[in-house]
């Protein structure tokens, strides 16, 4: 027993260290914070952003005398985020991480590997809580004048809270790996399983928002009634997640011992289930995932086909993205998720908003609503958000890795190859913008299809400019030497420039709004499109002139 625990402890320590080293936030040599790490600054900004946002919401909730709405809602959001995060990482950590091959030949039992992998994900979730949950809950405590015991309970709850979600998601993953036998391709399986789970979660979210903000119940009711009703509904939803309400009750100082006992019981049952299923299924799946040979003897005639040079090159770009699960998850997955999320939120929120502004107290807002250049810029800004997480162009050259030299030896001009490399991001963003605009058109018919089409056209022009600049950044500073695919994005400084570009885009949209605010909408849109076309033309011209110098770093062989 002691040696088992020692194995689990050592393995967990190893995995956690490995994970932290790859994040590059702590310098492994000096043991100090690496201030050059972009991730460190992203976390700092997030930390302050969340602190500000939560203190604003809590102070409002306290002012209206309903602080518990924040607590119940916040814990629900935290649970959903932990579940999404666990879904995203667990398949890779449990089955496909590179270290498994090096561990399997050691005298360590599969269940010990499983538990240490579980501890790794749990630790990741604790890091997540540290940034997203600790400060808001402490602010809640100070705003509600809680005693010192609240803060102690808060820490205990945060330690216990992610256990259940991690165990349940882990169990579901192991179970799905067993049941979905048809997918012998592990790459595809990794993608599909997490895809299904996240989609299920997003659609549940849509239903939950629709349920919470059901306008029919709130019409002609006073604010107090509405808030009480919303709180009631959140608690009802929280009941579906067994660990939320007991945690919230502990933090609200209600029946502390009983709720702790509930939490212990829930987690104990979850752990037994996880270990039982893991013991039965994990090793076999682990071996199949790592050593499953995909080579087949081919008895049928192979497919030899001819395509146009350009089409073949573009197909190659899409294949490079789609055949590699890491590229797929890093580049395409977030765009699909965000598109679905924005569509779902639009479907859930617009009717609720429409209902809300029908109330008498919002008469001024209702009468002030009109479609103008500001609305166009807001919609374009929303479409930019999906571009924020589209890493297709910013990794277009780095993705090639050892293949990069092929670009230089092919008898295809460097300019054309650059254009072809832009196609995946542009195509993805067009699909995403098309889907979001279709939902907006359906939800807000007042805008009119002609304007929706104009916005679609403007978004395509913006996408072309963005993709062009991002590809250019990656061409000038490519990361061609990598061992594992995830390194490209994880340690990429270019990613930070992508965020800067999006911020710049939003500022540009604000500038456009100010510039055309007092002009006729149709003329403004025409000028707007003209400006974007000019930018595309200038960028093309500059690239064509300096293409040889820009390809200088593509020299791997």
């Amino acid at each position: 027993m002691e040696s088992k625990l020692k194995n689990i402890f050592n393995l967990s320590k190893l995995y956690i260290k490995e994970n932290d080293a790859s994040l590059n936030i702590i310098n492994t040599e000096t043991k100090k914070i690496n201030k050059k790490s972009y991730l460190f600054w992203v976390y700092v900004i997030l930390f302050f952003g969340i602190t500000y946002l939560s203190s604003e919401i809590i102070s409002y909730a306290v002012k209206i005398g309903k602080p518990e709405i924040f607590l119940n809602g916040f814990i629900l959001v935290l649970e959903v985020l932990i579940i999404i995060r666990t879904i995203m990482v667990s398949m890779n950590v449990f089955y496909f991480s590179k270290d498994i091959e090096n561990i399997l030949h050691l005298p360590i039992k599969p269940i010990e590997i499983l538990i240490s992998k579980f501890c790794t994900i749990l630790f990741m979730n604790y890091e997540f809580e540290l940034i997203f949950a600790l400060v808001p809950l402490f602010i809640y405590g100070s705003y509600t004048f809680s005693m010192i015991s609240y803060f102690l309970h808060c820490i205990i709850v945060l330690v216990v809270f992610p256990l259940f979600a991690t165990m349940i998601v882990g169990t579901i993953m192991i179970f799905l790996m067993k049941t979905i036998k048809i997918f012998k391709n592990k790459d595809l399986m990794q993608f599909i399983i997490s895809f299904i789970l996240i989609f299920a979660l997003i659609f549940s979210l849509e239903k939950a928002i629709g349920y919470i903000f059901n306008n029919a119940e709130y019409i002609e009711q006073n604010q107090e009634f509405v808030l009480n009703k919303i709180n009631e509904k959140i608690i009802k939803i929280n009941n579906y997640f067994l660990n939320i309400n007991p945690s919230a009750q502990v933090l609200q100082n209600n029946k502390i011992i009983i709720n702790y006992l509930k939490l212990i019981l829930i987690n104990f049952v979850g752990f037994i289930l996880f270990i039982f299923i893991g013991n039965k299924l994990y090793l076999k799946q682990l071996l199949r995932a790592n050593f499953y040979t995909k080579r087949i003897k081919n008895n049928k005639k192979i497919r030899i086909k001819k395509s146009q040079k350009g089409i073949s090159y573009i197909k190659k770009e899409f294949k490079l993205l789609s055949k590699n699960p890491i590229f797929l998850i890093q580049s395409i997955y977030p765009v699909i998720m965000l598109t679905v999320l924005i569509c779902v939120l639009t479907i859930a929120i617009v009717p609720a908003y429409n209902g809300l502004i029908q109330r008498d107290e919002y008469k001024d807002i209702r009468e002030g609503l009109k479609f103008n250049i500001e609305a166009v810029c807001i919609i374009l800004g929303i479409l930019q958000i999906t571009g924020l997480f589209n890493y297709t162009s910013i990794t277009s050259f780095s993705r090639e890795g050892k293949n990069a030299y092929v670009m230089k030896i092919l008898p295809i001009s460097l300019y054309k190859q650059f254009i072809y490399k832009n196609i995946p991001q542009i195509a993805l963003n067009i699909i995403s913008a098309g889907a979001i605009l279709a939902v907006i058109n359906f939800q807000i018919p007042a805008i009119g299809l002609n304007y929706i089409l104009v916005i679609f056209g403007l978004s395509i022009l913006l996408t072309v400019i963005n993709s062009f600049i991002l590809c250019l950044i990656d061409l000038i500073m490519p990361k061609l030497k990598w061992e594992a695919e995830y390194e490209i994005l994880k340690n990429s400084k270019n990613k930070l420039l992508q965020y800067v570009l999006i911020i710049f885009n939003i500022l540009f949209l604000i500038f456009m709004k100010d510039l055309f605010e007092k002009h006729n909408l149709n003329i403004s849109l025409g000028f707007f499109a003209g400006i974007l076309i000019c930018i595309i033309f200038i960028l093309n011209l500059l690239f064509y002139k300096f293409k040889n110098k820009l390809y200088k770093k593509i020299t791997t062989i």
Binding site: T293, K294, R295, I296, K297, N298, N299, I302, R303, I304, K305, K306, S307, Q308, K309, I311, S312, Y313, K315, K316, K319, L320, K323, N324, K402, N403, Y405, V406, K408, I409, L410, P411, I412, S413, N548, K552, I554, T555, I557
Partner: protein, 240 residues
Amino acid sequence: MIKIQNVSKSYKKGTKVIENIDLEIKNGEIFGFIGQNGAGKTTTIKMMTGILEIDEGDIFIDGKSITNEPIEAKKNIGLVPDSPDIFLKFKGIEYLNFIADCYNVSKEERTQKIEKLAKEFEIYDELDNKIESYSHGMRQKIVIIGVLLHNPQNWILDEPITGLDPKSSYDLKTLMKEHASQGKTVFFSTHILEIAEKLCDRIAIINKGKIVFVGTLDELRKIYGEENSLEQIFLGIIGE
């Protein structure tokens, strides 16, 4: 024909890694480019194929400058790199189709060549599998088939024998001889002297970025002593 004209290259200002190289590789010739690790072999090959910019001088592939007419020059080159780990997620046949498309190889021609070469190299049955599942030798073979698909006038190989089993190594050497016998150029780098001895019509020895010998092996022996082995001569030339 490949003509390297007074070519120099430096990665850092003031430090030339290639210094005033002049070489001419004629049609129908197998030319060995010999040097120890870090001598400048791969840098030269990178410049010959347009991967690296040339600082001074120029390289002509069948009369086309790789600097001024890169597309035309590249149509006449087939490069086999020292590491064949490319397009690992692609199936062998997908890679070959892509390369054939880039060089405008007709469907009939590619079908005939893929079948012939893949069967000769004994990887025909593996073409529908991903390249990542191939062994090093098989990866090398798929790259070689890709290069031979468009029947390039000039075949450039960087350390081609490394990692190949005896049978594949023999097959590759036979292919190189066949290619040269059709009046085409084969240029390959190596540090295995025995291969150069058995295969090359002429060799060039490169040391610290400079060409220290160009000629046939007989000429080499005449200059540096016939009683010495090739290995001793080579070590003598590079000053070890």
